[in-house]
Homo-oligomer: 327 residues x 2
């Protein structure tokens, strides 16, 4: 397998359509005509091993890498338009491995209506993948992580549980559970959320994508906003979790709050506009729940029914750890 073999294989998957563009796939760079007065851009990377759940094949890894970059753009109200993918390939890979990875990348791009614009291939001791996403928004005020205000309602988009089972109960237990395997094989970002965030951006004071676990997301939002988040409800979770947990509310809460890669969005909304935002969410069939409220306080943090929650996150270097140790 030579570099040209890989490049020619990758080229098959690149977008050949032209929307006012002059440069095609395989050139030094791609040209894009801006679709709006503001771009939203993001980059995300992985060592392939770190996202390789036993039931994920290389096409699933490709899917996940695009989903992760797209999710960042969506959480700021951007519509993903194109992705650029850089990969490191071990010498042990075959061209069919390259194909499998790019099939997943390509399927994710189709699913998100987003174009695979270009990329770059490298040899590596260990496989890695890096995805840059470029999106557009017509909204002049993309919400930051840190803008939540006293009295804001907190909405969590997405359905939780399966990733928490993987994180807490491990691969072996999870691989026996069809509902866990199916939900975590190819997580999906919800593109329509971008429409709501973009349309109601003056009422949406803060938003953040849920990629490292919900407790961590809410904690960072709380710290960045210098305010407390008080949860009175859990977000939507899969019905199988109740039986799995024997209806133990503690077991359920732990798995809902400490997953990761769900690619939902946590959103703080001005309560005066809440009903209109929720109505729009309903109209677009976006799964969400209003889970709590933002309050002024002395020491930022997240509580659930009045109790401080344990904030865990996946640390790239340490593995799972208590996030509060680190702030």
């Amino acid at each position: 397998m030579s570099e040209e073999d890989v490049v020619l294989r990758v080229m098959k998957y690149l977008s050949k359509q032209s929307f006012g563009e002059r440069l095609g796939p395989g050139d030094d760079a791609r040209d894009i005509v801006p679709r709006s007065h503001r771009l939203i851009v993001s980059i995300d990377g992985y060592s392939v091993e770190s996202v390789k759940l036993p039931w994920r094949d290389l096409s699933d890894i490709g899917w996940c890498s695009v989903t992760s970059a797209v999710s960042d753009v969506v959480s700021k109200g951007g519509f993903p338009y194109g992705v650029l993918v850089s990969i490191g390939i071990p010498r042990s890979w075959s061209l069919s491995d390259v194909d499998e990875l790019y099939r997943g990348i390509s399927e994710a791009c189709s699913f998100y209506n987003c174009r695979l614009l270009g990329g770059d291939t490298n040899s590596a001791a260990e496989a890695w993948i890096s995805v840059a996403a470029i999106g557009f928004t017509s909204n002049a005020y993309p919400p930051s992580r840190g803008g939540a205000l006293d009295g804001d309602a907190l909405i969590v988009v997405g359905t939780y549980g399966p990733q928490g089972v993987v994180a807490i109960d491990g691969f072996r237990a999870s691989s026996e559970l069809k509902w866990v395997v199916e939900a975590t094989k190819r997580p999906r970002a919800i593109i329509d959320v971008a429409t709501v965030i973009s349309r109601w951006s003056r009422a949406i004071h803060a938003s953040m994508d849920v990629s490292d676990g919900l407790s961590y997301t809410l904690y960072i939002m709380s710290v960045s906003s210098s305010r407390c988040i008080e949860l009175s409800d859990l977000p939507l979770y899969v019905k199988e979790l109740e039986e799995y947990c024997g209806r133990s509310t503690e077991c359920i809460a732990e798995r809902v709050l400490n997953g990761g890669e769900e690619y939902g969005v946590a959103i703080a909304v001005d309560s005066r506009h809440l009903n209109r935002v929720l109505k729009e969410m309903d109209a677009m069939k976006i799964p969400f729940r209003t889970v709590g409220v933002v309050r002024n306080c002395d020491k930022p943090g997240v509580t659930y029914k009045g109790m401080s929650i344990k904030v865990r996150r996946w640390d790239q270097f340490y593995g799972w750890r208590d996030a509060k140790d680190t702030y």
Copy 2:
């Protein structure tokens, strides 16, 4: 060293200025206000080992990774505006290694007047780095690699030689040569070329950056354009190469044509507009030489003084090889 330690360290280097932007460093994504009606985007990646010449430290690697992505944008007439950087860090690295890498990234961004917008950090068995560059051009016709026409003059921007000595004569011989070490430690892309390409884009039929060796660049341009490139001269090269080669023209030509990472640009220009393009190059003090001409022919390829040249390229998977084997 935890992920937060790394992220906090990286944050120090991110652009905190706002040019009409609402999102700051460290958010899920960055927002950018387009400066033109066309974007030029590119991504480039490396395994750090593969670019680690013995005399390059991590700051030089950081510099090179930005230079490489910026060079792609420049070769299409784009002005680099911002970069996003994703890195894989081995557990053996310390925070001062992270600092050193980002110091180089940051120095390159300053040199190219380009902003470090954001990034992503990951753990990895082997260090890797991926840089996405976003640029703007006011030009509706960025030149592709494949547009060269019969009669076009071929201009090569940049000064060659030292990288060829590294590629052909090896690290040990090169490390003794101050002029080789100095030129290859931190190669520089020439941003002003973007001005010329953008301004004269209707006269510039094709352009390509010189990142994998000049012979390979010209060969790809020739194949993509389905035309022959006939060289009558070598591009500019460093004066020390003459003494090094004992004035052997073969030795000089081999090292000038088979380097890599020079980050010059090969440009095919409509001969009717050549003088005006050259005048602009001179006015901007861009180092270049007109080296030959593009001709219609049956079998694309590159000749130098009538002889077919050996086309070598660095293959990520095979090392140095004859590029003609692969097309």
